[in-house]
């Protein structure tokens, strides 16, 4: 592997630059995230991103792609995903047509020989393109390797795929190459930046983890979350922003089945802006709570404490009760 910087990727010179670039693309990263992207590029290693749903794991890949102006190639994993859907598939129809054409032209290939041995020799001498790149239908993984400018490859929710598939990924993750039995090994033109995301529904294998940098994204603290909301919901009032972030942070401290994540905070902020809210009120919160909480039991549990939470949120936002 070469440690030299490819000339087109100069924005990755320092961690601060990563930070700035990501925020220009609308992604407010903390230092760990920026460090991870920086190292992923320089060490040429994939990043395994773990964390609860909705903290921006997938968004990170999108932002990296849009900031570096690289194509984003996304592969959603699911149970039963196999190499013909992830790596390549033969174009069966065209192959079939090719055999038909070959059948018609076979006499011209073989020529006038009447002897079986010589006709076989001639057939062997004839270049066989049945299994060749022309008949190859590239799927996401192969496409990411063949991208001439490099790419951001997002392997989403790897924990949803089978264990066999995980093993199959190892070659591409460590060497950025894949082996197609009929053709040979295909290496990357420019090593892509690879991000794998996982919600930890199952434990990933050690072999996979060993090959990756491991980034854990948790829920952001109050300051960071406020920054994220401000960047995603531009028109929001500063006082409202403080109130709603404080409210959500308190909500996370409760004992809930599924605590609201960043994406839900953003949704809620959008709803509040749409309703022209400037101060949180108990009724308003109660009416819009279903944006934040997705389980009936959670809404019920939180419902009892809304008054207290809202009061505290208002105090934090600097609004007189």
């Amino acid at each position: 592997m070469n440690d030299a910087l490819p000339p087109g990727l100069s924005p990755l010179q320092s961690i601060e630059q990563v930070d700035q670039g990501l925020s220009a693309a609308g992604y407010i990263a903390n230092r760990q995230i920026s460090t991870a992207i920086y190292m992923a590029h320089h060490l040429q290693k994939p990043i395994l991103v773990e964390g609860p749903a909705g903290v921006g794991k997938t968004e990170l890949a999108k932002s990296v792609a849009s900031w570096m102006k690289l194509p984003l190639i996304r592969m959603q994993c699911y149970e039963g995903l196999d190499e013909s859907k992830a790596l390549y598939e033969w174009k069966y129809g065209k192959q079939l047509l090719y055999t038909q054409i070959l059948k018609d032209k076979i006499s011209s290939v073989i020529g006038e020989s009447d002897n079986l041995a010589t006709s076989l020799d001639k057939l062997h001498a004839f270049g066989d393109i049945f299994f060749s790149k022309q008949f190859l239908e590239p799927r996401p993984l192969l496409r990411a390797l063949e991208e001439p400018t490099g790419a951001v490859l997002l392997i989403d929710e790897i924990d949803k795929s089978d264990q066999e598939f995980e093993a199959f990924l190892l070659e591409i993750l460590s060497d950025f190459q894949v082996t197609i039995p009929e053709i040979g090994t295909v290496g990357a033109v420019v090593p892509p930046i690879v991000l794998l995301t996982s919600n930890s529904t199952r434990d990933l294998g050690d072999a996979l983890k060993r090959r990756c940098l491991h980034l854990h994204i948790g829920f952001p603290d109050e300051k960071l979350e406020a920054k994220i909301i401000a960047s995603r919901v531009p028109g929001i009032d500063a006082s409202l922003l403080k109130q709603l972030v404080s409210f959500v942070q308190q909500l996370r401290a409760l004992d809930l089945k599924k605590v609201p994540s960043v994406s839900e905070t953003i949704d809620w902020a959008k709803v509040l802006v749409l309703l022209h809210t400037s101060v949180l009120s108990v009724d308003l919160v109660r009416d819009t709570l279903n944006v934040l909480l997705k389980f009936e039991a959670d809404i019920e549990a939180a419902g009892k404490q809304i008054a207290g939470l809202t009061h505290k949120a208002r105090a934090d936002g600097g609004v007189a009760a």
Binding site: A36, L43, L96, T99, Q163, R210, C212, L213
Partner: protein, 441 residues
């Protein structure tokens, strides 16, 4: 925490790239490479802090006013000639007098490395290593000098000796702290592993309350491992035999040319497991762990029904599924636990309520000591259970020599069970369950 050689190389490359200048970034970068789960991240951060912490030697002394220090420094200028020939360029005495903390810290670390601090394993070794480090730093020489100064009898010499003594005490404290940190750093993993090994083979009924947390982790790991191993065998395919009929049908569209081959697959049965767990007073210390294991297994396997019994029997699958482990166990024990056991009655309850769900694919596991307090054992029900089910496995926490003594009906039940075995450590439990899962394949 396991770190492979490859990860070590990566870490070295990262450090080379990042440099030591920014401590936070260094910490983040190494964390990305070395720690691969949230638990490991926490452990890593702890270790990083311990390893890279170099507290200012005698920092508590910071408040000391300059005037107090100055006289000695001035004197040091005059008396500098009588330096105590230490090992390094500067002697320990000089370092102490000048209060050069960075140099002292470096000297301490070097001495620690030379004395092989990374081999420290037990807290009893703390003083030994502290002494070794101090010796290597040249403490003996300083002590001798101090003695000489005291002997000289001049007020100046006495003052100086006193001053040095204060410094030496501080140094001792620092070294002791340093050794302690290293003990935590190097020995923690070892002692914990040792303890875990011990727990695995200890009799479950002898375990103490303080080990509960650790046991819970162990039980969980074990159940998870079993579930993973079992999931793998379930998906095993029989490659190599072509299913001609299905291949033909699949490739009809291409005029029967077999582009896509279909292979014969062996369908592997899911084990259907029913567990009957004794929670009566006689096995109470044991049933805590049995329930814990049941809970973990419940999380790992989908098709498992659990029952608890003492005087009578109830289904507890739902409690195990819905409540967190602590509450689930407490709830079960409250509902039905601690009474005196009546096996006959409990089996009758089972027959009334759940016998209809027992199929020829079901494995029934009974955890209990078979001591029914001289009540009717109702072996005929167990016989019917055995006829309906695939097999019955009885796990008994008592040693074999106790079976059949007193009110134990073990040998009366045994003929209807496919397997009767002693099970009173975590290791036994693991082996028994592994066998069950493997046979189910």
């Amino acid at each position: 925490m396991r770190v492979s050689a490859a990860e070590g190389i990566d870490a070295a490359r990262a450090v080379k790239m990042i440099g030591y200048a920014d401590r936070d970034i260094l910490k983040d970068s190494l964390g990305l490479i070395l720690a691969k789960t949230p638990e490991e991240k926490a452990a890593y951060e702890e270790a990083f802090e311990l390893y890279f912490k170099r507290d200012d030697l005698g920092a508590q002394d910071e408040a000391e006013s300059d005037e107090q220090k100055r006289p000695w420094q001035q004197q040091q200028g005059q008396q500098g000639g009588e330096g105590m020939g230490g090992s390094g360029g500067q002697s320990l005495g000089q370092l102490l007098e000048q209060d050069d903390r960075a140099a002292l810290a470096t000297a301490m670390e070097q001495a620690a490395r030379e004395s092989g601090i990374e081999n420290i394993r037990f807290f009893t070794q703390k003083n030994l290593y502290a002494r070794r480090i101090l010796d290597r730093m040249g403490l003996r020489q300083v002590e001798r000098d101090m003695e000489a100064l005291r002997q000289s009898g001049t007020p100046e010499g006495l003052g100086r000796a006193q001053f040095l003594e204060g410094r030496v005490d501080q140094l001792r404290d620092s070294v002791r702290d340093f050794v302690e940190r290293n003990l935590i750093l190097f020995a923690k993993g070892e002692t914990e592993k040792f303890r875990e090994e011990l727990l695995k083979s200890a009799r479950l009924s002898n375990l103490e309350r303080r080990d509960l947390d650790r046991m819970r982790v162990l039980v969980r790991q074990m159940a998870k491992k079993l579930a993973a191993r079992y999931a793998k065998t379930r998906r095993r395919r029989l490659r190599g035999q072509l299913d001609i009929r299905r291949t033909m049908r699949r490739n009809m569209g291409w005029g029967g040319i077999p582009f896509i081959t279909v292979w014969k697959q062996k369908r592997i049965e899911k084990p259907r497991v029913m567990v009957l767990c004794d929670v009566s007073g006689s096995v109470a210390p044991m049933s805590q762990f049995l329930l814990m294991f049941l809970y973990a297994l419940n999380e790992a396997l989908s098709d498992i029904r659990s029952f608890a019994f003492a005087g009578s029997l109830i289904e507890v699958s739902e409690i195990l599924e819905k409540e967190p482990v602590e509450q689930a166990i407490t709830k079960i024990m409250e509902t039905i636990g601690f009474g005196s056991s009546n096996f006959g009655n409990s089996f009758a309850d089972f027959e009334d309520g759940w016998m209809q769900y027992v199929t020829p694919k079901t494995t029934i596991i009974i955890l209990g000591d078979a001591r029914g307090n001289r009540t009717d054992p109702r072996t005929e029900i167990v016989s019917r259970m055995s006829q309906r089910s695939k097999r019955i496995i009885w796990l008994n926490p008592e040693y074999k020599s106790a079976w059949g003594t007193g009110d134990s009906d073990m040998y009366r039940y045994a003929p209807f069970c496919n397997l009767v075995t002693v099970c009173n450590t975590l290791r036994h439990l693991e082996r028994a369950i592994t066998d069950i899962l493997e046979d189910a394949v």
